[in-house]
């Protein structure tokens, strides 16, 4: 195994990002450009799309073909569903959620954004800040994406004008203030020609900031996870009941936030019983401490009745255990919300019956105005009150994505019909 020792693997971080934009703003071209210029396109892929480009009578290779995957999409020339792409540079590994920008956009963007560290919002330099860009910024703030890049694309079509770029930046930042969005970077670019994507090009000398790739490689992501509040939803109870492990009772799960050490006091929710951590077990041996997002097995000092769906937390700064809470819902299903029906809510490892007892308002995602509503349709976002059959250990989504998020499932057809984000308790 000596050859392996020389290789340094596993010291690169993983960055997940999403590209947001309306149809034709250049999302696919940008992703194609990132992959191409970072040498992540394989020869067979390149020759396949070169072939297709020529067959369609195009002069140069259409990089957007790289990401337009399914047969129906290629026929219609549009992207239907969220697709995931992978590439790596010596500094980082990247996962791109490529979300298409047609009428189902809200649903796709929320899906892609839910796991993203960063969003690139594309704006066509000729068009400036449109209603759609505002919608994308709103969705990014709703889902709480930690970092935002505003990519002013197609600069080649506005003579690489600094004034155009600066006006768009100003418009966007004025709007973003209202959304409490921070960590915004602005980059002028031409995805088609490759300026400021991976290479700087020679047309945008007045711009002194980073290229998109530099930024993707350097934006700090190790603090995107909440390291303050220990949250451990129990997924599975391990009881081998073998001779040598007769009394072993391990709680298996993933540390969703925070960290834990041997000897730490823990509280079990919803019961409220307390104990101490005895061991932190992993396949590679017992360890003294563990941190999010590690998957581990915990044993505790006392014999308590703990099962899947329970949550271990530290006794200070506990989540609210409640049957009623408010949440922002993004409705994903073609069947609209029916307030008379029972739904299922899956929150961490617990699935409970739920009633959506009230719709406070629906957000007009274009104007951000609140309007009265008695239902939510597909792609609608609204604030609702929920009543659940069994108590859930809730944190506000803003503070903790893992314990503040849930999905709503239709009990009859088993579809996932909504994504929910828990609001801070009103008091």
């Amino acid at each position: 195994m000596s050859a392996i020792d020389n290789i340094s693997f596993d010291h690169t971080e993983l960055l997940r990002f999403i590209t947001a934009g309306s149809v034709d703003d250049g999302k696919s071209t940008l992703i194609g450009r990132l992959l191409h210029d970072s040498k992540s396109i394989f020869e067979d892929q390149l020759s396949a799309i070169t072939h297709t480009s020529h067959r369609r009578g195009m002069e140069s290779v259409d990089l957007s073909l790289l990401t337009d995957g399914l047969q129906a999409e290629r026929e219609q020339g549009i992207t239907i569903d969220v697709a995931y792409r992978y590439f790596a540079t010596p500094k980082r590994k990247f996962i791109i959620a490529d979300t298409p920008g047609h009428e189902q956009y809200t649903r796709n963007m929320v899906t892609g954004a839910s796991t993203a560290n960063l969003a690139i919002i594309l704006i066509d330099a000729r068009k400036g800040l449109l209603t759609q860009s505002r919608r994308h910024a709103y969705l990014a703030s709703l889902v709480g994406i930690p970092h935002l890049v505003v990519a002013v694309n197609k600069m080649d079509l506005v003579n690489y004008s600094r004034d155009v770029f600066e006006r768009i930046c100003k418009d966007f930042s004025t709007f973003a203030k209202g959304l409490k969005l921070n960590n915004i970077a602005y980059i002028p670019m031409s995805a088609l020609n490759g300026d400021m994507v991976v290479e700087r090009g020679d047309k945008l000398d007045w711009y002194e900031g980073m290229t998109l790739m530099d930024l993707l490689e350097s934006v700090p992501i190790d603090h995107d996870i909440n390291l303050e509040d220990f949250r451990f939803p129990v997924q599975w109870v391990c009881r081998p009941q073998t001779e040598e492990l007769h009394d072993f009772r391990g709680y298996m799960g993933r540390i969703e936030s925070g960290f834990i050490s041997i000897g730490d006091a823990v509280k079990v929710l919803p019961s409220g019983l307390t104990s101490r951590i005895k061991e932190i077990v992993t396949y590679d041996g017992v360890v003294d401490d563990a941190v999010a997002p590690q998957s581990v097995t915990l044993t505790i000092e006392d014999h308590l009745d703990i099962s899947r769906g329970d949550m271990l937390v530290k006794p200070v700064g506990v989540p609210v255990v409640t049957n009623e809470f408010d949440a922002m819902l993004c409705w994903l299903s073609e069947q609209s919300l029916d307030p008379r029906r029972k739904y299922l809510v899956k929150h961490t490892t617990r699935t409970v019956k739920a009633l959506i007892s009230r719709i406070d308002y629906r957000v007009d995602v274009n104007t951000l105005n609140h309007e009265a509503a008695d239902t939510l349709k597909m792609n609608d976002i609204g604030r609702v009150s929920l009543k659940v059959h069994q108590p859930l250990a809730c944190d506000p989504y803003q503070r903790n994505h893992a314990t503040g998020s849930f999905i709503v499932i239709d009990e009859v057809n088993n579809n996932t019909v909504a994504a929910g984000m828990i609001c801070p308790a009103k008091d």
Binding site: F9, D10, E13, F42, Y86, A88, V110, S114, S295
Partner: protein, 329 residues
């Protein structure tokens, strides 16, 4: 971030001195050690545990290939010191490399877990699969045997080692991918998948395919094999072999593949990037004789895994998508 920096600086420079700010130091120390492989591993473990907890009767697909070797290690990480809460299932095409089958049986024995083998030979004998010729690729028909096995054992979830980077149609596949009662995948009607909250619910007769290493690339798989020091069948390493050049690829000479008019047999240094149906799995020319050298080669390779190694996927740009709709893994 600023707060953390400040607190860490307050730790005494004397290495023997432990201060009250230790928790911060712990956090930073551990967090720094979590690289991309740790993140991918933890995600996969989380997914496997969700399947075990929420599905009534799951199975883990195991072929003896590198992806499923990684899957077994992940299952160990997820469930030891307990047993796997599911059996292993191998859909045997009958066109296997003998060393892979030998490896499969040895590995299963080491683990002490249960292996179910269902073979295409049986499906052919029962007339459930009709081949045009004996030597034709059997990959497209695996779905028949797989669906029969799912019905026989009433599996409601099959955990597999497919990755999204393998093929365009896979890029849109969910981690929990719902199949109707005919085992079919409808790419336009997939359940949205948000955060790490997976919807595992199915009606009787339907099932879910689960792909815990969806987000891994070929390179990640090899890096993990290196890190975990996992054994893989020898045909993954460079060796000399009689091959035939056909189209853009090389085919291994065997009882299934013989030279036709105008082709000649060459003896080359090759390795396999995937191990599947012997009649259509192409080796690539390589001098990589250990995992480290494979990683180096993979990091600089310019051809996708499937492009290089699967004759049957090249027939049409949409062939994988079509097969998946029909129930293929």
């Amino acid at each position: 971030m600023e707060i953390l920096n400040e607190m860490e600086e307050s730790v005494s420079p004397d290495p023997g001195f432990v201060t009250k700010t230790e928790p911060v130091a712990i956090k930073r120390r551990i967090a720094r050690h979590l690289g991309h492989l740790d993140a991918l591993e933890s995600e996969a473990i989380h997914i496997m545990r969700e399947v075990a907890a929420e599905c009534a009767n799951p199975a883990l697909l195991f072929s003896g290939g590198k992806d499923s070797i990684v899957m077994l290690r992940l299952a160990e990480k997820a469930f030891r010191p307990g047993r796997f809460p599911f059996p292993l299932l191998h859909v045997d095409t009958g066109h296997n490399f003998p060393e892979v089958i030998e490896f499969r049986d040895r590995r299963v024995k080491q683990l002490g877990e249960r292996l179910i083998v269902r073979s295409m030979e049986d499906s052919i004998r029962q007339g459930r699969v009709v081949l045009r010729s004996e030597n034709q690729s059997r990959n497209p028909f695996q779905s028949v045997t797989l669906l029969d096995a799912i019905a026989e054992f009433c599996f409601d979830a099959c955990i597999g080692g497919a990755r999204r980077d393998e093929e365009k149609a896979r890029a849109k596949e969910r981690i929990f991918s719902f199949r109707d009662e005919f085992g079919q995948w409808d790419p336009k009607n997939q359940r949205p998948e948000l955060w790490d909250i997976y919807n595992t619910r199915v009606h009787p007769g339907e099932n879910i395919r689960v792909f815990p290493i969806s987000n891994w690339t070929e390179l990640d798989v090899w890096e993990y094999i290196a890190r975990e020091e996992l054994e893989v069948p020898h045909i993954y390493f460079a060796h000399t072999r009689d091959v035939i050049r056909r189209g853009t690829g090389l085919l291994p000479l065997s009882h299934l593949v013989q030279p036709v008019e105008g082709e000649k047999v060459e003896n080359l240094m090759v390795r396999f990037r995937t191990v599947g149906d012997m009649s259509c799995t192409c080796p690539v020319e390589s001098s990589a004789v250990n995992v480290g050298e494979i990683i180096t080669e993979t990091a600089i390779t310019r051809i996708t895994e499937r492009g290089a190694t699967r004759m049957d996927d090249q027939t049409s740009d949409a062939s994988m998508e079509r097969r998946k709709k029909e129930g293929y893994f």
